[in-house]
Amino acid sequence: MDWLKFFRSEPKNTAALAKERLKVVVAHQRDGRSNAPAYLPKLREDILAVVRKYVQVPDTAVNVHVQREAGLEVLEMNITLPEM
Protein backbone atom coordinates (compact mmCIF):
# COMPACT_ATOMS: atom_id res chain seq x y z
CA MET A 1 0.00 0.00 0.00
CA ASP A 2 1.16 3.50 -0.80
CA TRP A 3 1.16 5.17 2.63
CA LEU A 4 1.83 8.66 1.39
CA LYS A 5 -1.11 8.43 -0.96
CA PHE A 6 -3.31 7.26 1.87
CA PHE A 7 -2.57 10.27 4.04
CA ARG A 8 -2.60 12.77 1.24
CA SER A 9 -5.81 11.36 -0.22
CA GLU A 10 -6.88 14.26 -2.39
CA PRO A 11 -10.30 13.09 -3.45
CA LYS A 12 -10.65 13.15 -7.21
CA ASN A 13 -14.33 13.14 -7.88
CA THR A 14 -14.57 10.85 -10.88
CA ALA A 15 -18.30 10.32 -10.22
CA ALA A 16 -18.95 13.97 -11.03
CA LEU A 17 -16.98 13.56 -14.23
CA ALA A 18 -19.00 10.48 -15.10
CA LYS A 19 -22.22 12.39 -14.56
CA GLU A 20 -21.21 15.26 -16.83
CA ARG A 21 -20.13 12.89 -19.59
CA LEU A 22 -23.34 10.90 -19.30
CA LYS A 23 -25.51 14.00 -19.53
CA VAL A 24 -23.95 14.77 -22.90
CA VAL A 25 -24.28 11.30 -24.43
CA VAL A 26 -27.78 10.86 -23.12
CA ALA A 27 -28.99 14.23 -24.40
CA HIS A 28 -27.55 13.27 -27.75
CA GLN A 29 -29.13 9.84 -27.67
CA ARG A 30 -32.50 11.41 -27.01
CA ASP A 31 -32.46 13.53 -30.14
CA GLY A 32 -35.27 12.46 -32.38
CA ARG A 33 -36.91 10.46 -29.61
CA SER A 34 -40.28 10.84 -27.92
CA ASN A 35 -42.79 12.75 -30.05
CA ALA A 36 -40.25 14.12 -32.48
CA PRO A 37 -40.74 13.33 -36.17
CA ALA A 38 -39.30 10.03 -37.37
CA TYR A 39 -37.02 11.69 -39.93
CA LEU A 40 -34.94 13.51 -37.31
CA PRO A 41 -32.18 10.89 -36.89
CA LYS A 42 -31.76 10.66 -40.67
CA LEU A 43 -31.76 14.44 -41.01
CA ARG A 44 -29.10 14.62 -38.34
CA GLU A 45 -26.97 12.05 -40.17
CA ASP A 46 -27.30 13.96 -43.44
CA ILE A 47 -26.34 17.26 -41.84
CA LEU A 48 -23.41 15.62 -40.13
CA ALA A 49 -22.23 14.29 -43.50
CA VAL A 50 -22.49 17.75 -45.06
CA VAL A 51 -20.61 19.40 -42.21
CA ARG A 52 -17.90 16.80 -42.54
CA LYS A 53 -17.26 17.81 -46.13
CA TYR A 54 -15.76 20.97 -44.66
CA VAL A 55 -14.69 20.25 -41.06
CA GLN A 56 -13.72 17.14 -39.14
CA VAL A 57 -16.26 16.91 -36.30
CA PRO A 58 -17.10 14.14 -33.86
CA ASP A 59 -20.37 12.17 -33.99
CA THR A 60 -21.83 14.29 -31.26
CA ALA A 61 -21.28 17.60 -33.03
CA VAL A 62 -24.75 17.88 -34.53
CA ASN A 63 -27.85 18.16 -32.37
CA VAL A 64 -31.37 18.58 -33.71
CA HIS A 65 -34.52 19.12 -31.68
CA VAL A 66 -38.10 19.89 -32.46
CA GLN A 67 -39.63 22.38 -30.07
CA ARG A 68 -43.35 22.96 -29.85
CA GLU A 69 -44.34 26.41 -28.72
CA ALA A 70 -47.88 27.77 -28.87
CA GLY A 71 -48.88 25.44 -31.67
CA LEU A 72 -45.76 26.30 -33.62
CA GLU A 73 -43.12 23.71 -34.42
CA VAL A 74 -39.55 24.93 -34.42
CA LEU A 75 -36.65 22.86 -35.69
CA GLU A 76 -33.66 23.79 -33.62
CA MET A 77 -30.19 22.75 -34.69
CA ASN A 78 -26.84 23.02 -32.97
CA ILE A 79 -23.51 22.35 -34.60
CA THR A 80 -20.52 22.39 -32.31
CA LEU A 81 -17.23 23.03 -34.07
CA PRO A 82 -14.03 21.57 -32.66
CA GLU A 83 -11.67 23.88 -30.83
CA MET A 84 -8.95 25.23 -33.09
Binding site: A15, K19, L22, R33
Partner: protein, 286 residues
Protein backbone atom coordinates in the same frame (compact mmCIF):
# COMPACT_ATOMS: atom_id res chain seq x y z
CA UNK B 1 -54.59 -7.89 -1.14
CA UNK B 2 -55.41 -7.45 -4.79
CA UNK B 3 -53.09 -5.21 -6.80
CA UNK B 4 -54.39 -1.83 -7.86
CA UNK B 5 -56.58 -2.07 -10.92
CA UNK B 6 -55.03 0.35 -13.31
CA UNK B 7 -56.41 1.33 -16.66
CA UNK B 8 -53.96 -0.96 -18.36
CA UNK B 9 -55.19 -3.85 -16.28
CA UNK B 10 -58.77 -3.26 -17.34
CA UNK B 11 -57.82 -3.04 -21.00
CA UNK B 12 -56.10 -6.38 -20.79
CA UNK B 13 -59.13 -7.71 -18.99
CA UNK B 14 -61.35 -6.83 -21.91
CA UNK B 15 -59.08 -8.77 -24.19
CA UNK B 16 -59.58 -11.67 -21.82
CA UNK B 17 -55.94 -11.46 -20.76
CA UNK B 18 -55.43 -11.04 -17.06
CA UNK B 19 -51.76 -11.06 -16.19
CA UNK B 20 -49.57 -8.03 -15.81
CA UNK B 21 -46.43 -8.56 -17.88
CA UNK B 22 -43.22 -7.14 -16.43
CA UNK B 23 -39.97 -7.16 -18.39
CA UNK B 24 -36.63 -7.01 -16.59
CA UNK B 25 -34.27 -5.33 -19.02
CA UNK B 26 -31.02 -3.32 -19.18
CA UNK B 27 -29.28 -3.28 -22.52
CA UNK B 28 -25.91 -3.92 -20.93
CA UNK B 29 -25.02 -7.47 -19.94
CA UNK B 30 -24.22 -8.76 -16.48
CA UNK B 31 -25.86 -5.96 -14.52
CA UNK B 32 -28.23 -8.16 -12.52
CA UNK B 33 -31.32 -8.84 -14.68
CA UNK B 34 -31.51 -12.53 -13.88
CA UNK B 35 -30.77 -11.94 -10.19
CA UNK B 36 -33.55 -9.33 -10.15
CA UNK B 37 -36.03 -11.44 -12.16
CA UNK B 38 -35.58 -14.39 -9.81
CA UNK B 39 -36.00 -12.37 -6.62
CA UNK B 40 -38.79 -10.18 -7.97
CA UNK B 41 -40.87 -13.14 -9.18
CA UNK B 42 -40.24 -15.04 -5.94
CA UNK B 43 -41.22 -11.98 -3.90
CA UNK B 44 -44.52 -11.60 -5.79
CA UNK B 45 -45.27 -15.29 -5.21
CA UNK B 46 -44.39 -15.01 -1.50
CA UNK B 47 -47.05 -12.33 -1.27
CA UNK B 48 -49.65 -14.66 -2.66
CA UNK B 49 -49.63 -13.63 -6.33
CA UNK B 50 -49.58 -16.40 -8.88
CA UNK B 51 -46.44 -15.62 -10.85
CA UNK B 52 -44.48 -17.07 -13.74
CA UNK B 53 -40.93 -16.09 -14.65
CA UNK B 54 -39.68 -16.70 -18.20
CA UNK B 55 -36.06 -16.92 -19.32
CA UNK B 56 -35.78 -15.17 -22.71
CA UNK B 57 -32.03 -15.76 -22.95
CA UNK B 58 -32.14 -18.49 -25.59
CA UNK B 59 -28.83 -20.30 -25.83
CA UNK B 60 -27.60 -18.93 -22.49
CA UNK B 61 -30.10 -20.34 -20.03
CA UNK B 62 -29.33 -19.24 -16.46
CA UNK B 63 -32.54 -18.45 -14.64
CA UNK B 64 -33.07 -22.15 -13.90
CA UNK B 65 -29.76 -22.23 -11.99
CA UNK B 66 -30.56 -19.10 -9.98
CA UNK B 67 -34.01 -20.52 -9.17
CA UNK B 68 -32.49 -23.90 -8.29
CA UNK B 69 -34.60 -25.94 -10.71
CA UNK B 70 -31.98 -26.80 -13.36
CA UNK B 71 -32.41 -30.55 -12.87
CA UNK B 72 -36.13 -30.38 -13.47
CA UNK B 73 -36.08 -28.75 -16.89
CA UNK B 74 -37.63 -31.15 -19.36
CA UNK B 75 -39.27 -28.80 -21.85
CA UNK B 76 -38.52 -25.15 -22.48
CA UNK B 77 -39.97 -21.95 -23.93
CA UNK B 78 -38.98 -22.85 -27.50
CA UNK B 79 -40.60 -26.29 -27.19
CA UNK B 80 -43.86 -24.59 -26.24
CA UNK B 81 -43.63 -22.04 -29.05
CA UNK B 82 -43.03 -24.77 -31.59
CA UNK B 83 -45.82 -26.95 -30.23
CA UNK B 84 -43.50 -29.74 -29.07
CA UNK B 85 -44.79 -29.43 -25.52
CA UNK B 86 -47.77 -27.88 -23.80
CA UNK B 87 -47.39 -24.98 -21.43
CA UNK B 88 -48.46 -27.23 -18.60
CA UNK B 89 -45.64 -29.67 -19.40
CA UNK B 90 -43.00 -26.98 -19.65
CA UNK B 91 -43.84 -24.82 -16.62
CA UNK B 92 -41.75 -25.88 -13.63
CA UNK B 93 -43.48 -25.46 -10.29
CA UNK B 94 -41.17 -24.03 -7.65
CA UNK B 95 -40.51 -26.40 -4.75
CA UNK B 96 -40.49 -23.72 -2.04
CA UNK B 97 -43.15 -21.30 -3.19
CA UNK B 98 -46.71 -22.32 -3.86
CA UNK B 99 -47.54 -19.67 -6.49
CA UNK B 100 -44.32 -19.65 -8.46
CA UNK B 101 -43.59 -21.19 -11.87
CA UNK B 102 -40.52 -21.07 -14.10
CA UNK B 103 -40.33 -21.38 -17.88
CA UNK B 104 -36.74 -22.15 -18.90
CA UNK B 105 -34.97 -20.94 -22.03
CA UNK B 106 -33.76 -23.40 -24.60
CA UNK B 107 -30.09 -24.19 -24.28
CA UNK B 108 -29.62 -25.80 -27.68
CA UNK B 109 -31.58 -23.67 -30.13
CA UNK B 110 -30.48 -20.34 -31.50
CA UNK B 111 -32.17 -17.02 -30.97
CA UNK B 112 -34.20 -17.30 -34.15
CA UNK B 113 -36.28 -19.99 -32.51
CA UNK B 114 -38.14 -17.18 -30.73
CA UNK B 115 -40.72 -15.59 -33.03
CA UNK B 116 -42.85 -12.55 -32.30
CA UNK B 117 -45.91 -14.54 -33.12
CA UNK B 118 -44.95 -17.52 -30.98
CA UNK B 119 -44.01 -15.41 -27.96
CA UNK B 120 -47.29 -13.53 -28.25
CA UNK B 121 -49.33 -16.73 -28.32
CA UNK B 122 -47.59 -18.24 -25.30
CA UNK B 123 -47.91 -15.04 -23.26
CA UNK B 124 -51.57 -14.78 -24.13
CA UNK B 125 -52.20 -18.32 -22.96
CA UNK B 126 -50.23 -17.72 -19.75
CA UNK B 127 -52.08 -14.47 -19.13
CA UNK B 128 -55.24 -16.39 -18.39
CA UNK B 129 -53.61 -18.29 -15.59
CA UNK B 130 -51.18 -15.93 -13.90
CA UNK B 131 -51.39 -12.58 -12.15
CA UNK B 132 -47.82 -11.63 -13.04
CA UNK B 133 -45.51 -12.76 -15.81
CA UNK B 134 -41.90 -11.68 -15.35
CA UNK B 135 -39.75 -11.71 -18.50
CA UNK B 136 -35.99 -12.01 -17.89
CA UNK B 137 -34.50 -10.28 -20.94
CA UNK B 138 -31.17 -11.20 -22.52
CA UNK B 139 -28.54 -8.47 -22.80
CA UNK B 140 -28.36 -6.29 -25.89
CA UNK B 141 -31.03 -4.58 -27.92
CA UNK B 142 -31.41 -7.27 -30.57
CA UNK B 143 -34.22 -9.70 -31.24
CA UNK B 144 -34.23 -11.50 -27.88
CA UNK B 145 -34.34 -8.29 -25.87
CA UNK B 146 -36.93 -6.85 -28.25
CA UNK B 147 -39.23 -9.85 -27.87
CA UNK B 148 -38.84 -9.84 -24.09
CA UNK B 149 -40.02 -6.23 -23.85
CA UNK B 150 -42.56 -6.21 -26.68
CA UNK B 151 -45.63 -7.32 -24.70
CA UNK B 152 -44.72 -5.65 -21.43
CA UNK B 153 -47.07 -3.53 -19.35
CA UNK B 154 -44.28 -2.47 -17.01
CA UNK B 155 -40.48 -2.59 -17.10
CA UNK B 156 -37.82 -2.91 -14.45
CA UNK B 157 -34.80 -1.16 -15.93
CA UNK B 158 -31.84 -2.72 -14.13
CA UNK B 159 -28.89 -0.33 -13.99
CA UNK B 160 -25.48 -0.29 -12.33
CA UNK B 161 -24.00 3.03 -11.17
CA UNK B 162 -21.51 3.06 -14.01
CA UNK B 163 -21.33 5.04 -17.28
CA UNK B 164 -21.89 2.27 -19.83
CA UNK B 165 -24.78 0.74 -17.92
CA UNK B 166 -26.55 4.10 -17.53
CA UNK B 167 -26.13 4.92 -21.19
CA UNK B 168 -27.49 1.52 -22.22
CA UNK B 169 -30.44 1.92 -19.87
CA UNK B 170 -31.23 5.18 -21.59
CA UNK B 171 -31.17 3.39 -24.97
CA UNK B 172 -33.54 0.80 -23.60
CA UNK B 173 -35.91 3.52 -22.36
CA UNK B 174 -36.03 4.80 -25.92
CA UNK B 175 -36.99 1.34 -27.17
CA UNK B 176 -39.62 0.88 -24.45
CA UNK B 177 -41.31 4.06 -25.60
CA UNK B 178 -41.31 3.15 -29.28
CA UNK B 179 -40.76 -0.54 -30.03
CA UNK B 180 -43.38 -2.15 -27.80
CA UNK B 181 -46.92 -3.32 -28.36
CA UNK B 182 -48.23 -0.54 -26.13
CA UNK B 183 -46.30 2.13 -28.02
CA UNK B 184 -47.21 0.78 -31.44
CA UNK B 185 -50.90 0.36 -30.71
CA UNK B 186 -51.20 3.71 -28.94
CA UNK B 187 -52.44 1.87 -25.86
CA UNK B 188 -50.68 4.05 -23.29
CA UNK B 189 -47.04 3.43 -22.50
CA UNK B 190 -44.93 0.87 -20.70
CA UNK B 191 -44.56 1.93 -17.07
CA UNK B 192 -40.86 2.26 -16.30
CA UNK B 193 -39.14 1.59 -12.97
CA UNK B 194 -35.47 2.11 -12.14
CA UNK B 195 -33.77 -0.68 -10.19
CA UNK B 196 -30.24 0.38 -9.33
CA UNK B 197 -28.14 -2.64 -8.40
CA UNK B 198 -24.60 -3.39 -7.21
CA UNK B 199 -24.64 -0.09 -5.35
CA UNK B 200 -21.61 0.60 -3.18
CA UNK B 201 -22.38 3.48 -0.77
CA UNK B 202 -18.77 3.66 0.48
CA UNK B 203 -17.49 4.34 -3.02
CA UNK B 204 -20.30 6.83 -3.64
CA UNK B 205 -19.26 8.69 -0.48
CA UNK B 206 -15.70 8.88 -1.81
CA UNK B 207 -16.87 10.32 -5.13
CA UNK B 208 -15.81 7.19 -6.98
CA UNK B 209 -19.26 6.00 -8.00
CA UNK B 210 -22.36 7.67 -9.42
CA UNK B 211 -24.91 8.23 -6.67
CA UNK B 212 -28.52 7.14 -6.82
CA UNK B 213 -29.49 10.79 -7.28
CA UNK B 214 -27.08 11.15 -10.20
CA UNK B 215 -28.60 8.15 -11.96
CA UNK B 216 -32.15 9.25 -11.20
CA UNK B 217 -31.42 12.68 -12.61
CA UNK B 218 -29.94 11.32 -15.82
CA UNK B 219 -32.50 8.62 -16.56
CA UNK B 220 -35.47 10.59 -15.20
CA UNK B 221 -37.68 7.63 -14.34
CA UNK B 222 -39.12 6.72 -10.93
CA UNK B 223 -36.82 4.78 -8.61
CA UNK B 224 -38.23 1.44 -7.48
CA UNK B 225 -35.25 0.37 -5.41
CA UNK B 226 -31.53 0.30 -4.78
CA UNK B 227 -29.87 -3.08 -4.27
CA UNK B 228 -26.44 -2.90 -2.67
CA UNK B 229 -23.40 -4.80 -3.89
CA UNK B 230 -23.68 -7.84 -1.66
CA UNK B 231 -21.86 -11.07 -0.99
CA UNK B 232 -25.21 -12.71 -0.36
CA UNK B 233 -25.98 -12.62 -4.11
CA UNK B 234 -23.14 -15.03 -4.85
CA UNK B 235 -23.84 -17.36 -1.93
CA UNK B 236 -27.53 -17.47 -2.83
CA UNK B 237 -26.75 -18.29 -6.43
CA UNK B 238 -24.38 -21.02 -5.26
CA UNK B 239 -27.28 -22.59 -3.42
CA UNK B 240 -29.88 -21.97 -6.14
CA UNK B 241 -32.17 -19.88 -3.96
CA UNK B 242 -33.12 -16.34 -5.01
CA UNK B 243 -31.47 -13.85 -2.67
CA UNK B 244 -34.85 -12.42 -1.57
CA UNK B 245 -35.35 -15.61 0.44
CA UNK B 246 -32.35 -14.63 2.59
CA UNK B 247 -34.01 -12.18 4.95
CA UNK B 248 -30.78 -11.75 6.87
CA UNK B 249 -29.03 -10.18 3.88
CA UNK B 250 -29.02 -6.56 2.75
CA UNK B 251 -29.70 -7.52 -0.88
CA UNK B 252 -32.54 -9.82 0.19
CA UNK B 253 -34.18 -7.03 2.17
CA UNK B 254 -33.63 -4.56 -0.65
CA UNK B 255 -35.44 -6.88 -3.09
CA UNK B 256 -38.23 -7.34 -0.57
CA UNK B 257 -38.63 -3.55 -0.56
CA UNK B 258 -38.65 -3.53 -4.38
CA UNK B 259 -41.55 -5.97 -4.48
CA UNK B 260 -43.47 -4.16 -1.72
CA UNK B 261 -43.12 -0.82 -3.51
CA UNK B 262 -44.08 -2.36 -6.83
CA UNK B 263 -47.31 -3.53 -5.17
CA UNK B 264 -48.00 -0.02 -3.96
CA UNK B 265 -46.57 -0.04 -0.43
CA UNK B 266 -44.66 3.04 0.75
CA UNK B 267 -41.21 2.12 2.01
CA UNK B 268 -38.23 4.33 2.71
CA UNK B 269 -35.09 3.54 0.70
CA UNK B 270 -32.29 1.96 2.71
CA UNK B 271 -28.69 0.74 2.25
CA UNK B 272 -27.86 4.10 0.71
CA UNK B 273 -25.13 5.04 3.15
CA UNK B 274 -21.98 3.20 4.12
CA UNK B 275 -21.57 1.78 7.60
CA UNK B 276 -19.05 3.88 9.44
CA UNK B 277 -15.72 2.21 9.97
CA UNK B 278 -13.17 3.02 12.64
CA UNK B 279 -9.60 3.93 11.78
CA UNK B 280 -8.53 0.28 12.05
CA UNK B 281 -11.30 -0.74 9.71
CA UNK B 282 -10.16 1.87 7.24
CA UNK B 283 -6.55 0.76 7.39
CA UNK B 284 -7.23 -2.94 7.11
CA UNK B 285 -10.62 -3.03 5.45
CA UNK B 286 -11.19 -3.61 1.76
Amino acid sequence: MAPARTGAWEDRNQENALAKIVVVTSGKGGVGKTTTSASFATGLAMRGHKTAVIDFDVGLRNLDLIMGCERRVVFDFVNVIQGEATLRQALIKDKQHENLYILAASQTRDKDALTADGVGRVLEEMSKEFEYIVCDSPAGIEKGAHLAMYHADEALVVTNPEVSSVRDSDRVLGLLSSKTRKAESGDGRVKEHLVLTRYNPARVAKGEMLSVDDVKEILAIPLLGVVPESQAVLTSSNAGTPVIVDKASDAGLAYDDVVARFLGEERAHRFLTAEKKGLLGRLFGP
